[in-house]
């Protein structure tokens, strides 16, 4: 009794949805409090036996769930109850709640099948049918689809348009969930394409558009039907969908494009609707791009869009232009001034699109200018767009191993310039490129060291944490290629400046390691220089030693030739430079010898800087700067600081002593410290080369090596210490230990080291083969001077009109194909086989094999029927279809003349093809439905085998195969369309 009373009370004083909304808006007690109170009420009311109270509560719950995001899955059973109410208003609430909250895993779905069936077959109330259909379109599961397919099939030919169009739209979900429904429904679905009612046609076309976009191949046989609609329909919505369908089909069947291109262009010319016009344009540029006339027309239309005031049309115009760009760059060039104008549009979408197009115009002839202007543009744009510009410059220039970059000196200084832009957040990318270039391109290293130095010595940069990665690359480069540095001592000071304590530990470790390398270089140079002044023979020894180490027999010759004759400091105190030059000598011709040598040693200033005082100063500086770090908590820093300090400890005594003994003719080469220094220098001077990604895999694992167990132990011992993963292994020789430790965190993918000889031999080979293209280095030098510096000071003041600047330059550069003064040869970029990740244009296979299979089966059946009827002209049942065929056959006959031999051959012996189909069909009829599927699979396999076989065949044989191909590949396309 009590429950009845409460139920009545609930009914009489229940809040309606409107009350709830009003209450929410008043917010007397705060929103969340109010809602939790309301939810409490709902939980009580929804259990009521009165359907009105219950549905009302459910409606409120739906509202809260939909707009205030409260979970309502707990009420699933009540939803089912309300759905089964006989009153339309309740039912509607119930169905709405179901489509809102049910998912595939909702357990009560099992209970609603019968309710749905009852509502779907309701003869009196089409709106109830519609409710059920709507709900199914959202919640239908495989089970529901299977059980309700007969009902949906019936509705597909309902006389009520209102219901039929919804049933058609529902078929999409049914096919997706339950592919076997294709057997039942597909034919009727296709029949609806012929309907006279525009709603029906629109709905069917919509369904086919969705189906085609997932698996175009299966729907090729329907091309004639689609073609008819494309030509006849006056409805823009339908036409847009048709264009979408053909855009997919044409890609599969090139012969189709010849038929389609004309009506598409016709629509494009005729239509007043921008949406249809744009769709035509998009279809042409994306799928019919080999039809010159059509593309020209489309580009005219694109231009119309571009010049429209409506930003939406502008945006879409740019969009279409970027689709057309890869195949028809002229279309972009034609519109370049418009594109560039919109680089400064206020709309971020438009800016981004035009940036993309500007980057599409970049080629090796204009990359310098475009990048320069873009970087200047980046300086004054908002941070987000600035980074987009920088990102696209970086990715465009690095594309395909810096394909478009000819002048690496320019590019490296551009990278330096980019790092200094205030908003630059591309640290990781710039870091990668700096290191990548330093290893791949030997000739650019002096410039790289210069750029690195400029970045390192600027204390202001250390406060920008976006730059840390770049700085770490700069530090590594300066350490690794210190021999190109003008002033190594300055580098040490930069690497150890006090503000480096702002850096994160991992990067600081790199700084310290680089300082170590620089110091070794300085000491070694100092020793050599001292020796050479002291006596004339020890450095000959040293040099020949170095040279022979690199397996350069000429090196020793050079050294002996050089050492006695040159007493100038700069040649002798710089062993690595001379070593470098000897290397080049060995691969070049003898004529270059002296010039080459002179050039490579220029980086070091001619005055002697490796004095005793300077060296001692540096040692003191390092001790002073690193002393406090011995207490560092970071393992990496600690390790490197200890290494460096211990090293100084080892040698300092003797270095200091040596001053005293200076006057005596000491045998300094045998000094302990100089031996150590030489050893270290040797270790560091071996070159790090780029390594193929797959190099590690090629190294066989030694027998009896068990890596995993030990590693597991390690994890147990130091589980919470973060180890940089790449450091522990992958050393080639023990000499590398130091260098590798510092560089590996940067290299990441390049985990292994390559013997330097490989790069050298590559270079040698290249030079041998393309000796013609190698200019003598003297010329090289002159041209380099001619080249406009990348950061021309002039540019600073014309930032404001750089848009016009860009327009101008594109006019100059894009039109003229070759730069007249492209005299500078492109330096060798070391490439490895592992570098090219093959861009496999792997087409995503049809998502649902069973669906496409089912569709193909149905359509194949259709086709068989068509072809048999063709061979049997008196067949009345196909008269309608025949008429249509004839209509289309006429234009296609003249078209056929243009087609290749393949098609002709095909037409010459149609009987074989037909008979093939017929027998196929006969076989079919005898088989049970279960076997049909098997057979189809077999066919599929056969086809696969054939195609793979075909690919393997030689080109000359392909022609002979073609007729067979056409039959096997496209057994389902009626030839009247082709």
């Amino acid at each position: 009794m009590a429950s009845t009373t409460s139920s009545i009370m609930d009914t009489l004083f229940q809040r309606t949805l409107e009350d709830l909304i009003k209450g929410l808006r008043l917010q007397l007690i705060g929103e969340s409090a109010f809602i939790s109170k309301a939810l409490e009420e709902i939980r009580r009311e929804i259990k009521s036996t009165d359907p009105h109270t219950k549905s009302n509560a459910l409606q409120k719950l739906s509202y809260l769930s939909s707009l205030h995001h409260f979970d309502m899955s707990w009420a699933a059973f009540h939803v089912v109850e309300v759905m089964s109410s006989s009153r339309f208003s309740h039912k509607k609430i119930g169905y709405h709640a179901a489509s809102l909250s049910f998912s595939d895993s909702t357990p009560v779905l099992l209970l609603i099948t019968n309710q749905l069936r009852k509502d779907l077959t309701n003869p009196n109330n089409e709106f109830e049918v519609s409710l059920a259909l709507e709900c199914l379109s959202r919640i239908a599961t495989t089970d529901l689809c299977r059980d309700l397919t007969p009902e949906i099939f019936t509705l597909l030919s309902s006389t009520k348009i209102f219901v039929r169009k919804k049933a058609i739209a529902l078929v999409l979900r049914v096919f997706e969930k339950y592919p076997d429904a294709v057997k039942v429904c597909f034919k009727r679905l296709v029949e609806n394409l012929d309907s006279t009612d525009p709603h029906i046609v629109s709905a069917v076309v919509g369904v086919f558009c969705e189906l085609t976009s997932n698996d175009p191949k299966s729907y090729l046989p329907l091309a004639p039907e689609f073609y008819r609609i494309l030509v006849d329909s006056k409805n823009n919505w339908v036409l847009i969908k048709m264009l979408k369908i053909f855009a997919k089909l044409v890609l599969l069947e090139p012969r189709l494009s010849k038929r389609v291109v004309e009506p598409v262009c016709e629509h494009m010319r005729r239509t007043g609707a921008k949406s249809l016009m744009f769709e035509c344009v998009r279809t042409v540029v994306s799928s019919l791009s080999e039809h010159e006339q059509a593309v020209k027309l489309a580009v005219v239309k694109i231009r119309e869009l571009l010049l429209d005031d409506d930003p939406n049309l502008k945006y879409l115009g740019l969009n279409a232009l970027s689709i057309v760009a890869p195949k028809h760059l002229w279309a972009v060039l034609e519109n370049k001034e418009v594109v560039i104008k919109w680089l400064s549009d206020e709309d971020p979408n438009i800016k981004r699109e035009s940036l993309r197009l500007v980057m599409a115009m970049v080629s090796e002839n204009n990359v310098v200018e475009i990048c320069r202007v873009l970087v200047n543009y980046a300086l004054k744009s908002d941070p987000e767009f600035c980074n987009e510009i920088l990102g696209s410059v970086l990715s465009t220039c690095s594309r395909n191993l810096y394909e478009i970059v000819n002048d690496f000196d320019w590019y490296v200084s551009l990278l330096g310039e980019m790092s200094r832009i205030l908003h630059c957040q591309q640290g990781d990318e710039i870091e990668n490129q700096l290191i990548d270039i330093s290893m791949r391109v030997r000739d650019v290293r002096p410039e790289l060291v210069r750029v690195g130095r400029d970045l390192l010595i600027d204390p202001a940069l250390l406060s920008n944490h976006f730059l840390y990665r770049i700085l770490s690359a700069a530090a590594w480069v300066s350490g690794e290629y210190v021999e190109f540095s003008r002033n190594p001592f300055e580098l040490i000071e930069a690497l150890l400046q006090p503000r480096t304590n702002l850096l994160p530990p991992s990067i600081r470790a790199i700084y310290i390691q680089s300082a170590f390398k620089v110091l070794i270089f300085c000491l070694h140079s100092y020793l050599l220089q001292r020796e050479s002044t002291a006596s004339s023979y020890p450095d000959t020894l040293a040099l020949s030693e170095l040279a022979s180490k690199r397996e350069m027999p000429e090196g020793s010759d050079l050294a002996t030739f050089k050492a006695p004759s040159h007493s100038e400091q700069d040649e002798v105190f710089n062993p690595r430079v001379s070593n470098q030059s000897s290397e080049e000598l060995s691969v070049g011709n003898g004529g270059d010898r002296t010039i080459n040598h002179g050039q490579t040693s220029t980086p070091v200033t001619s005055e002697n800087i490796f004095t005793y005082e300077a060296v001692v100063n540096q040692l003191n500086l390092i001790e002073l700067a690193l002393g406090p770090l011995t207490g560092s908590h970071d393992v990496e820093i600690l390790e490197r600081v200890r290494n460096l300090l211990c090293f100084i400890e080892l040698i300092k005594g003797e270095i200091l002593e040596s001053l005293v003994q200076k006057e005596e003719n000491l045998n300094s080469a045998e000094m302990k410290s100089s031996k150590i220094i030489k050893l270290m220098s040797d270790a560091f001077s071996e070159e790090l080369g780029p390594v193929s990604v797959s190099a590690q895999e090629r190294v066989p694992i030694p027998e009896g090596l068990v890596l995993k167990e030990n590693l597991n132990d390690l994890e147990m011992i130091c589980g919470d210490i973060q180890l940089p993963s790449s450091i522990s292994f992958s050393l080639v020789s023990t000499h590398y230990e130091e260098g590798v430790g510092a560089s590996l965190p940067d290299l990441q993918s390049k985990e292994e080291l390559e013997p330097p000889s490989e790069a050298t031999s590559l270079l040698a080979e290249h030079r041998k083969r393309h000796g013609l293209y190698y200019l003598t280095s003297e010329k090289n030098d002159i041209v380099a001077n001619d080249y406009p510096p990348a950061n021309d000071p002039k540019l600073q003041d014309d930032q404001n009109n750089d848009t016009e600047d860009l327009v101008k330059l594109t006019e100059q550069l894009l039109v003229s194909k070759k730069r007249p003064n492209q005299a500078k040869p492109r330096p060798v970029v070391v490439k490895l086989d592992g570098d090219f990740v093959p861009v496999s244009a792997k087409r995503p296979g049809p998502k649902d094999d069973s669906l496409s299979g089912a569709v193909q089966e149905v359509l194949l059946g259709n086709d068989t029927r068509t072809s048999t009827s063709r061979s049997n002209p008196s067949d009345k049942s196909s008269s309608k279809r025949k008429g249509k065929e004839k209509l289309i056959t006429d234009p296609s006959s003249e078209l056929n003349e243009n087609l290749g031999d393949a098609e002709k051959l095909d037409h010459e012996n149609p009987s074989s093809r037909r008979s093939k189909h017929r027998t196929h069909g006969k076989e079919r009829r005898h088989k049970s439905p279960g076997k049909i599927r098997e057979e189809r699979e077999e066919n599929g396999q056969k086809e696969k085998k054939k195609s793979s076989h075909r690919h393997a065949r030689h080109k000359t044989r392909q022609r002979a195969d073609v007729p067979l191909n056409v039959v096997s590949e496209t057994p389902v396309i009626p030839d009247f369309l082709l």
């Binding site: 009165d50 707009l67 949406s275 945006y315």
Partner: protein, 166 residues
């Protein structure tokens, strides 16, 4: 295919949210929020497209229109035409206008169920089925009549009929 229809006001309060694939309520909230986050930062008189791939995943586009205090948002994939979708928003708003005589945000706030009816007549399972606002109004009115008929018959004698059955 249309993936989602949203209407929200300029404060970011959702007024209508319809997702044609199942989304949990948490996910719905997140999506609406991130869409609003991008919408509110956009100036007037610029293009009506948004990069939706970051929010809704690959192959998704978004168009929106701003009417008075409301944003109308459509999310869809590559089988729809962007300009046609903008037209569709126009059709939706026109229909609302016809149904409510000069529609304003309050109409949408208080007519939760009717708004959904209109939308469901227009877009069915992500596919556009009706693009004429006259047809839409006709269908919606018929449904409303049916609803109120089934309610009014029973509104007064509800408790009575309950007793009678007992």
């Amino acid at each position: 295919m249309i993936r989602s229809v949203m209407v929200m006001n300029t404060q970011g309060k959702p007024r209508l949210a319809k997702f044609y694939d199942f989304q949990t309520v948490e996910k719905q909230q997140e999506l609406i929020r991130s869409v609003f986050g991008v919408l509110c930062s956009r100036a007037e008189n610029i293009s009506n497209f948004l990069d939706a791939a970051s929010i809704f995943g690959p192959d998704s586009s978004l168009v929106y229109k701003h009417y008075a205090t409301l944003y109308f948002v459509l999310v869809f994939d590559s089988s729809e035409n962007e300009l046609a979708m903008l037209d569709l928003i126009q059709v939706f708003v026109e229909t609302l206008d016809k149904c409510f005589k000069n529609v304003c945000e309050l109409d949408i706030v208080f007519n939760y169920s009717k708004i959904h009816t209109i939308l469901d007549e227009m877009i069915f399972g992500g596919q556009v089925l009706e693009t004429s606002s006259t047809e839409l109004v006709k269908a919606v009115e018929e449904i409303s009549r049916l609803e109120s008929a089934s309610n009014s018959i029973n509104l007064v004698p509800k408790s009575v009929s309950g007793w009678r059955n007992r």
